[in-house]
Symmetry: C2
Subunit: 220 residues, 2 copies
Protein backbone atom coordinates (compact mmCIF):
# COMPACT_ATOMS: atom_id res chain seq x y z
CA UNK A 1 0.00 0.00 0.00
CA UNK A 2 2.56 2.58 1.15
CA UNK A 3 4.92 1.32 -1.57
CA UNK A 4 2.35 2.03 -4.22
CA UNK A 5 1.73 5.54 -2.80
CA UNK A 6 5.46 6.12 -3.10
CA UNK A 7 5.48 5.01 -6.73
CA UNK A 8 2.42 7.16 -7.49
CA UNK A 9 4.25 10.15 -6.03
CA UNK A 10 7.45 9.50 -8.00
CA UNK A 11 5.41 9.11 -11.15
CA UNK A 12 3.65 12.44 -10.46
CA UNK A 13 7.03 14.15 -9.89
CA UNK A 14 8.38 12.67 -13.12
CA UNK A 15 5.31 13.81 -15.07
CA UNK A 16 5.02 17.34 -13.71
CA UNK A 17 6.62 20.26 -15.55
CA UNK A 18 6.80 24.01 -15.18
CA UNK A 19 3.86 25.17 -17.26
CA UNK A 20 4.80 27.94 -19.70
CA UNK A 21 1.47 28.41 -21.49
CA UNK A 22 -2.01 27.96 -20.05
CA UNK A 23 -5.32 27.31 -21.76
CA UNK A 24 -7.37 30.54 -21.29
CA UNK A 25 -10.51 28.38 -21.04
CA UNK A 26 -8.96 25.91 -18.60
CA UNK A 27 -10.22 25.89 -15.03
CA UNK A 28 -9.39 23.85 -11.99
CA UNK A 29 -12.03 23.00 -9.43
CA UNK A 30 -12.31 24.79 -6.10
CA UNK A 31 -11.89 21.42 -4.47
CA UNK A 32 -8.57 20.73 -6.22
CA UNK A 33 -7.36 24.26 -5.47
CA UNK A 34 -8.29 23.93 -1.81
CA UNK A 35 -6.36 20.66 -1.62
CA UNK A 36 -3.30 22.45 -3.03
CA UNK A 37 -3.59 25.30 -0.51
CA UNK A 38 -4.19 22.83 2.30
CA UNK A 39 -1.00 20.95 1.39
CA UNK A 40 0.85 24.26 1.74
CA UNK A 41 -0.86 25.06 5.02
CA UNK A 42 0.16 21.68 6.49
CA UNK A 43 3.83 22.12 5.59
CA UNK A 44 6.29 21.76 8.47
CA UNK A 45 8.50 24.68 9.47
CA UNK A 46 11.29 25.47 11.88
CA UNK A 47 9.90 25.38 15.44
CA UNK A 48 6.46 25.15 13.85
CA UNK A 49 6.37 28.93 13.41
CA UNK A 50 4.81 28.84 9.88
CA UNK A 51 6.24 32.24 8.82
CA UNK A 52 4.07 32.46 5.70
CA UNK A 53 0.78 33.60 4.24
CA UNK A 54 -0.85 32.77 0.91
CA UNK A 55 -2.61 35.55 -1.01
CA UNK A 56 -4.87 34.32 -3.80
CA UNK A 57 -5.00 37.15 -6.32
CA UNK A 58 -8.43 37.43 -7.93
CA UNK A 59 -8.56 41.21 -8.40
CA UNK A 60 -8.11 41.53 -12.18
CA UNK A 61 -6.46 44.91 -12.11
CA UNK A 62 -3.96 43.88 -9.43
CA UNK A 63 -3.30 40.66 -11.32
CA UNK A 64 -2.50 42.61 -14.50
CA UNK A 65 -0.13 44.81 -12.50
CA UNK A 66 1.59 41.74 -11.08
CA UNK A 67 1.95 40.10 -14.49
CA UNK A 68 3.67 43.26 -15.70
CA UNK A 69 6.26 43.17 -12.92
CA UNK A 70 6.87 39.43 -12.83
CA UNK A 71 8.13 38.09 -16.14
CA UNK A 72 7.87 34.52 -14.87
CA UNK A 73 4.07 34.71 -14.53
CA UNK A 74 1.76 33.40 -17.26
CA UNK A 75 -1.29 35.40 -18.22
CA UNK A 76 -3.80 32.59 -18.70
CA UNK A 77 -3.20 30.68 -15.49
CA UNK A 78 -6.45 29.99 -13.66
CA UNK A 79 -5.13 30.82 -10.16
CA UNK A 80 -2.29 33.00 -9.00
CA UNK A 81 -0.93 32.71 -5.46
CA UNK A 82 1.47 35.12 -3.83
CA UNK A 83 3.43 33.43 -1.06
CA UNK A 84 4.53 35.95 1.54
CA UNK A 85 7.22 35.34 4.13
CA UNK A 86 7.15 37.02 7.53
CA UNK A 87 9.77 39.59 8.39
CA UNK A 88 11.56 39.83 11.71
CA UNK A 89 10.65 36.39 13.10
CA UNK A 90 12.92 36.47 16.15
CA UNK A 91 12.24 35.27 19.70
CA UNK A 92 11.14 38.79 20.67
CA UNK A 93 8.68 39.17 17.81
CA UNK A 94 4.94 39.45 18.11
CA UNK A 95 4.67 36.69 15.48
CA UNK A 96 6.46 34.07 17.54
CA UNK A 97 4.41 34.94 20.60
CA UNK A 98 1.24 34.66 18.50
CA UNK A 99 2.13 31.18 17.26
CA UNK A 100 3.42 29.92 20.62
CA UNK A 101 0.43 31.31 22.50
CA UNK A 102 -2.56 31.21 20.14
CA UNK A 103 -1.66 28.29 17.88
CA UNK A 104 0.61 25.99 19.88
CA UNK A 105 -1.19 26.86 23.14
CA UNK A 106 2.00 26.68 25.17
CA UNK A 107 1.88 27.51 28.84
CA UNK A 108 3.75 30.66 29.83
CA UNK A 109 6.59 28.55 31.18
CA UNK A 110 6.82 26.34 28.10
CA UNK A 111 6.69 29.39 25.87
CA UNK A 112 9.60 30.97 27.71
CA UNK A 113 11.70 27.83 27.42
CA UNK A 114 10.88 27.49 23.75
CA UNK A 115 11.69 31.10 22.94
CA UNK A 116 14.97 30.82 24.77
CA UNK A 117 15.91 27.77 22.70
CA UNK A 118 14.77 29.57 19.56
CA UNK A 119 16.83 32.63 20.39
CA UNK A 120 20.02 30.62 20.87
CA UNK A 121 19.29 28.65 17.73
CA UNK A 122 18.88 31.73 15.56
CA UNK A 123 21.79 33.59 17.11
CA UNK A 124 24.49 31.00 17.61
CA UNK A 125 23.58 27.89 15.66
CA UNK A 126 22.05 28.90 12.34
CA UNK A 127 23.27 32.51 12.52
CA UNK A 128 20.23 34.04 10.83
CA UNK A 129 20.17 37.20 12.94
CA UNK A 130 23.04 38.87 11.09
CA UNK A 131 20.70 41.32 9.43
CA UNK A 132 17.09 41.77 8.23
CA UNK A 133 17.85 40.04 4.96
CA UNK A 134 19.31 36.85 6.47
CA UNK A 135 16.33 36.64 8.82
CA UNK A 136 13.87 37.17 5.98
CA UNK A 137 15.67 34.59 3.83
CA UNK A 138 15.37 32.10 6.70
CA UNK A 139 11.59 32.64 6.73
CA UNK A 140 11.68 32.39 2.95
CA UNK A 141 13.26 28.93 3.19
CA UNK A 142 10.37 27.74 5.34
CA UNK A 143 7.92 29.11 2.77
CA UNK A 144 9.62 27.05 0.06
CA UNK A 145 8.54 23.92 1.95
CA UNK A 146 4.96 25.17 1.63
CA UNK A 147 5.57 25.94 -2.05
CA UNK A 148 6.95 22.43 -2.63
CA UNK A 149 3.95 20.85 -0.94
CA UNK A 150 1.60 22.84 -3.19
CA UNK A 151 3.53 21.69 -6.26
CA UNK A 152 3.39 18.08 -5.05
CA UNK A 153 -0.35 18.31 -4.48
CA UNK A 154 -0.86 19.83 -7.93
CA UNK A 155 1.21 17.08 -9.55
CA UNK A 156 -0.82 14.39 -7.77
CA UNK A 157 -4.06 16.10 -8.84
CA UNK A 158 -2.95 16.46 -12.50
CA UNK A 159 -3.12 20.23 -12.13
CA UNK A 160 -0.47 22.17 -14.04
CA UNK A 161 1.67 24.64 -12.12
CA UNK A 162 4.33 27.32 -12.47
CA UNK A 163 6.54 28.27 -9.51
CA UNK A 164 7.85 31.80 -10.05
CA UNK A 165 10.97 33.51 -8.78
CA UNK A 166 10.98 35.62 -11.93
CA UNK A 167 9.75 38.91 -10.54
CA UNK A 168 11.29 42.28 -9.88
CA UNK A 169 11.44 42.56 -6.11
CA UNK A 170 11.45 46.34 -5.96
CA UNK A 171 8.63 46.76 -8.48
CA UNK A 172 6.40 44.17 -6.78
CA UNK A 173 6.98 45.50 -3.30
CA UNK A 174 6.29 49.04 -4.47
CA UNK A 175 3.05 47.87 -6.09
CA UNK A 176 1.88 46.03 -2.99
CA UNK A 177 2.75 48.90 -0.70
CA UNK A 178 0.75 51.30 -2.90
CA UNK A 179 -2.17 48.82 -2.97
CA UNK A 180 -1.87 48.46 0.83
CA UNK A 181 -2.00 44.70 0.34
CA UNK A 182 -0.11 44.06 3.56
CA UNK A 183 2.12 45.82 6.04
CA UNK A 184 5.58 45.80 4.41
CA UNK A 185 7.26 45.93 7.80
CA UNK A 186 5.64 42.58 8.61
CA UNK A 187 5.59 40.71 5.30
CA UNK A 188 7.60 40.48 2.11
CA UNK A 189 7.27 38.64 -1.20
CA UNK A 190 8.85 35.19 -1.09
CA UNK A 191 7.70 33.42 -4.25
CA UNK A 192 4.68 33.16 -6.56
CA UNK A 193 2.97 30.12 -7.94
CA UNK A 194 0.27 29.70 -10.56
CA UNK A 195 -2.06 26.83 -11.32
CA UNK A 196 -4.26 25.94 -14.27
CA UNK A 197 -4.57 23.77 -17.33
CA UNK A 198 -1.77 23.79 -19.90
CA UNK A 199 -2.59 24.97 -23.39
CA UNK A 200 -2.99 22.35 -26.10
CA UNK A 201 -0.04 23.90 -27.92
CA UNK A 202 2.22 23.57 -24.87
CA UNK A 203 5.27 21.37 -25.34
CA UNK A 204 7.14 20.74 -22.12
CA UNK A 205 10.91 20.56 -22.36
CA UNK A 206 12.09 17.05 -21.53
CA UNK A 207 12.86 16.98 -17.79
CA UNK A 208 16.57 17.21 -17.05
CA UNK A 209 18.13 16.19 -13.74
CA UNK A 210 21.60 15.10 -12.78
CA UNK A 211 21.73 11.31 -12.47
CA UNK A 212 21.09 9.74 -9.06
CA UNK A 213 24.77 8.86 -8.61
CA UNK A 214 25.82 12.47 -9.04
CA UNK A 215 23.23 13.86 -6.62
CA UNK A 216 23.44 11.23 -3.91
CA UNK A 217 26.75 10.30 -2.29
CA UNK A 218 27.18 7.65 0.38
CA UNK A 219 29.76 8.47 3.03
CA UNK A 220 30.89 5.12 4.40
Amino acid sequence: MADSEGQTYIHALESRFTCKRYDPEGHISDSAFNTILEAGRLAPSSFGFEPWKFLVIEDRRLLADILERAWGTKKNADRTVLILARRGVSAESEWVHHIAHDVQHLSKQDEQARLQAFSGFQQNDLQVLENDRTLFDWAGKQSYIALANMLSAAALLDVDATPIEGYNRDALEELFAAAKLYDPSEWGVSVLVQFGVHDESHRAHPKTRRPFGEVVEYVR
Copy 2:
Protein backbone atom coordinates in the same frame (compact mmCIF):
# COMPACT_ATOMS: atom_id res chain seq x y z
CA MET B 1 -8.50 9.03 -9.48
CA ALA B 2 -6.47 12.24 -9.13
CA ASP B 3 -8.89 13.43 -6.42
CA SER B 4 -8.20 10.36 -4.35
CA GLU B 5 -4.43 10.87 -4.78
CA GLY B 6 -4.92 14.36 -3.46
CA GLN B 7 -6.80 13.12 -0.42
CA THR B 8 -4.19 10.43 0.21
CA TYR B 9 -1.52 13.14 0.17
CA ILE B 10 -3.43 15.42 2.56
CA HIS B 11 -3.99 12.49 4.88
CA ALA B 12 -0.24 11.70 4.81
CA LEU B 13 0.60 15.34 5.58
CA GLU B 14 -1.89 15.36 8.45
CA SER B 15 -0.48 12.14 9.88
CA ARG B 16 3.23 12.93 9.61
CA PHE B 17 5.11 14.43 12.54
CA THR B 18 8.66 15.43 13.34
CA CYS B 19 10.00 12.28 14.95
CA LYS B 20 11.79 12.95 18.24
CA ARG B 21 12.70 9.39 19.26
CA TYR B 22 13.53 6.49 16.99
CA ASP B 23 13.40 2.76 17.58
CA PRO B 24 17.06 1.61 17.64
CA GLU B 25 15.95 -1.67 16.04
CA GLY B 26 13.79 0.04 13.40
CA HIS B 27 14.94 -0.10 9.80
CA ILE B 28 13.52 1.21 6.58
CA SER B 29 14.02 -0.68 3.34
CA ASP B 30 16.55 0.40 0.73
CA SER B 31 13.67 0.64 -1.70
CA ALA B 32 11.73 3.10 0.50
CA PHE B 33 14.89 5.11 1.14
CA ASN B 34 15.68 5.27 -2.56
CA THR B 35 12.15 6.52 -3.27
CA ILE B 36 12.70 9.29 -0.71
CA LEU B 37 16.03 10.32 -2.26
CA GLU B 38 14.54 10.11 -5.75
CA ALA B 39 11.72 12.47 -4.72
CA GLY B 40 14.41 14.94 -3.64
CA ARG B 41 16.40 14.47 -6.84
CA LEU B 42 13.30 15.21 -8.95
CA ALA B 43 12.53 18.47 -7.13
CA PRO B 44 12.21 21.56 -9.34
CA SER B 45 14.60 24.47 -8.86
CA SER B 46 15.17 27.96 -10.21
CA PHE B 47 16.29 27.71 -13.86
CA GLY B 48 16.61 23.96 -13.27
CA PHE B 49 20.05 24.47 -11.73
CA GLU B 50 19.55 21.94 -8.88
CA PRO B 51 22.09 23.59 -6.55
CA TRP B 52 22.16 20.70 -4.10
CA LYS B 53 23.74 17.40 -3.18
CA PHE B 54 22.61 14.72 -0.71
CA LEU B 55 25.23 13.02 1.46
CA VAL B 56 24.03 9.84 3.16
CA ILE B 57 26.12 9.52 6.29
CA GLU B 58 26.91 5.89 7.09
CA ASP B 59 30.37 6.33 8.60
CA ARG B 60 29.69 5.69 12.30
CA ARG B 61 32.43 7.90 13.61
CA LEU B 62 31.42 10.84 11.42
CA LEU B 63 27.80 10.29 12.36
CA ALA B 64 28.66 10.46 16.07
CA ASP B 65 30.57 13.69 15.44
CA ILE B 66 27.57 15.14 13.62
CA LEU B 67 25.14 14.15 16.38
CA GLU B 68 27.37 15.99 18.84
CA ARG B 69 27.24 19.24 16.84
CA ALA B 70 23.59 19.11 15.78
CA TRP B 71 21.24 19.05 18.74
CA GLY B 72 18.27 18.50 16.43
CA THR B 73 19.53 15.08 15.30
CA LYS B 74 18.26 11.87 16.89
CA LYS B 75 20.70 9.12 17.68
CA ASN B 76 18.64 6.09 16.69
CA ALA B 77 17.46 7.23 13.28
CA ASP B 78 18.09 4.61 10.64
CA ARG B 79 19.33 7.03 7.95
CA THR B 80 20.91 10.46 8.17
CA VAL B 81 21.10 12.73 5.13
CA LEU B 82 23.11 15.92 4.91
CA ILE B 83 21.65 18.26 2.29
CA LEU B 84 24.32 20.55 0.89
CA ALA B 85 23.63 23.72 -1.07
CA ARG B 86 26.02 24.97 -3.73
CA ARG B 87 27.96 28.17 -3.14
CA GLY B 88 28.48 30.87 -5.73
CA VAL B 89 25.82 29.80 -8.25
CA SER B 90 26.02 32.84 -10.52
CA ALA B 91 25.91 33.03 -14.31
CA GLU B 92 29.71 32.96 -14.43
CA SER B 93 30.04 29.88 -12.23
CA GLU B 94 31.37 26.53 -13.29
CA TRP B 95 28.25 24.97 -11.75
CA VAL B 96 25.81 26.76 -14.02
CA HIS B 97 27.87 25.91 -17.07
CA HIS B 98 27.96 22.27 -15.95
CA ILE B 99 24.19 22.08 -15.64
CA ALA B 100 23.45 24.04 -18.82
CA HIS B 101 25.99 22.08 -20.85
CA ASP B 102 26.14 18.55 -19.40
CA VAL B 103 22.63 18.16 -17.95
CA GLN B 104 20.34 20.45 -19.95
CA HIS B 105 22.41 19.90 -23.14
CA LEU B 106 21.86 23.46 -24.32
CA SER B 107 23.53 24.60 -27.52
CA LYS B 108 26.24 27.23 -27.07
CA GLN B 109 23.81 29.90 -28.27
CA ASP B 110 20.95 28.78 -26.01
CA GLU B 111 23.31 28.57 -23.08
CA GLN B 112 24.45 32.14 -23.63
CA ALA B 113 20.88 33.43 -23.81
CA ARG B 114 19.94 31.49 -20.69
CA LEU B 115 22.92 32.70 -18.68
CA GLN B 116 22.22 36.27 -19.70
CA ALA B 117 18.63 35.95 -18.47
CA PHE B 118 19.87 34.28 -15.28
CA SER B 119 22.38 37.04 -14.66
CA GLY B 120 19.76 39.78 -14.98
CA PHE B 121 17.39 37.80 -12.82
CA GLN B 122 19.88 37.35 -9.99
CA GLN B 123 21.22 40.89 -10.20
CA ASN B 124 18.18 43.06 -10.80
CA ASP B 125 15.06 41.05 -10.12
CA LEU B 126 15.63 38.80 -7.12
CA GLN B 127 18.73 40.67 -5.90
CA VAL B 128 20.57 37.64 -4.60
CA LEU B 129 24.05 38.79 -5.64
CA GLU B 130 24.40 41.25 -2.75
CA ASN B 131 26.94 39.03 -1.03
CA ASP B 132 28.02 35.39 -0.63
CA ARG B 133 25.44 34.81 2.07
CA THR B 134 22.43 36.01 0.07
CA LEU B 135 23.56 33.88 -2.88
CA PHE B 136 24.04 30.84 -0.66
CA ASP B 137 20.64 31.38 0.98
CA TRP B 138 19.07 31.48 -2.49
CA ALA B 139 20.58 28.07 -3.25
CA GLY B 140 19.43 26.97 0.19
CA LYS B 141 15.84 27.86 -0.68
CA GLN B 142 15.99 25.57 -3.68
CA SER B 143 17.33 22.79 -1.48
CA TYR B 144 14.30 23.17 0.81
CA ILE B 145 12.10 22.13 -2.12
CA ALA B 146 14.15 18.93 -2.30
CA LEU B 147 13.83 18.55 1.48
CA ALA B 148 10.07 19.01 1.31
CA ASN B 149 9.77 16.38 -1.43
CA MET B 150 11.74 13.91 0.70
CA LEU B 151 9.42 14.58 3.65
CA SER B 152 6.37 14.12 1.43
CA ALA B 153 7.70 10.84 0.08
CA ALA B 154 8.46 9.62 3.61
CA ALA B 155 4.95 10.55 4.76
CA LEU B 156 3.39 8.68 1.85
CA LEU B 157 5.60 5.65 2.60
CA ASP B 158 4.79 5.66 6.34
CA VAL B 159 8.44 6.34 7.08
CA ASP B 160 9.11 8.62 10.05
CA ALA B 161 11.31 11.65 9.50
CA THR B 162 13.03 14.55 11.25
CA PRO B 163 14.02 17.69 9.31
CA ILE B 164 16.86 19.41 11.16
CA GLU B 165 17.94 23.04 11.22
CA GLY B 166 19.14 22.50 14.78
CA TYR B 167 22.87 22.40 14.18
CA ASN B 168 25.78 24.68 14.92
CA ARG B 169 26.88 25.99 11.54
CA ASP B 170 30.46 26.75 12.54
CA ALA B 171 30.99 23.45 14.33
CA LEU B 172 29.57 21.38 11.48
CA GLU B 173 31.47 23.20 8.78
CA GLU B 174 34.69 22.89 10.76
CA LEU B 175 34.06 19.16 11.16
CA PHE B 176 33.38 18.61 7.47
CA ALA B 177 36.37 20.68 6.40
CA ALA B 178 38.63 18.61 8.67
CA ALA B 179 37.07 15.40 7.33
CA LYS B 180 37.54 16.74 3.78
CA LEU B 181 33.95 15.74 3.09
CA TYR B 182 33.59 18.36 0.35
CA ASP B 183 35.25 21.51 -0.89
CA PRO B 184 33.93 24.26 1.41
CA SER B 185 34.41 26.86 -1.31
CA GLU B 186 31.89 24.95 -3.42
CA TRP B 187 29.38 23.55 -0.92
CA GLY B 188 27.89 24.45 2.43
CA VAL B 189 25.48 22.80 4.87
CA SER B 190 21.86 23.65 4.13
CA VAL B 191 19.77 21.31 6.25
CA LEU B 192 19.78 17.75 7.60
CA VAL B 193 17.07 15.14 7.55
CA GLN B 194 16.77 11.76 9.24
CA PHE B 195 14.52 8.82 8.54
CA GLY B 196 13.58 5.72 10.48
CA VAL B 197 10.93 4.10 12.63
CA HIS B 198 9.60 5.96 15.66
CA ASP B 199 10.11 4.38 19.05
CA GLU B 200 7.14 2.69 20.68
CA SER B 201 7.37 5.21 23.54
CA HIS B 202 7.16 8.17 21.12
CA ARG B 203 4.18 10.44 21.61
CA ALA B 204 3.87 13.04 18.88
CA HIS B 205 2.65 16.46 19.91
CA PRO B 206 -0.75 17.15 18.38
CA LYS B 207 -0.14 18.97 15.09
CA THR B 208 -0.74 22.71 15.34
CA ARG B 209 -1.31 24.96 12.35
CA ARG B 210 -3.05 28.31 11.95
CA PRO B 211 -6.54 27.78 10.57
CA PHE B 212 -7.06 27.91 6.79
CA GLY B 213 -8.75 31.30 6.95
CA GLU B 214 -5.75 32.85 8.69
CA VAL B 215 -3.19 31.42 6.25
CA VAL B 216 -5.08 31.93 3.02
CA GLU B 217 -6.44 35.32 2.03
CA TYR B 218 -8.42 36.02 -1.14
CA VAL B 219 -7.69 39.38 -2.75
CA ARG B 220 -10.82 40.23 -4.75
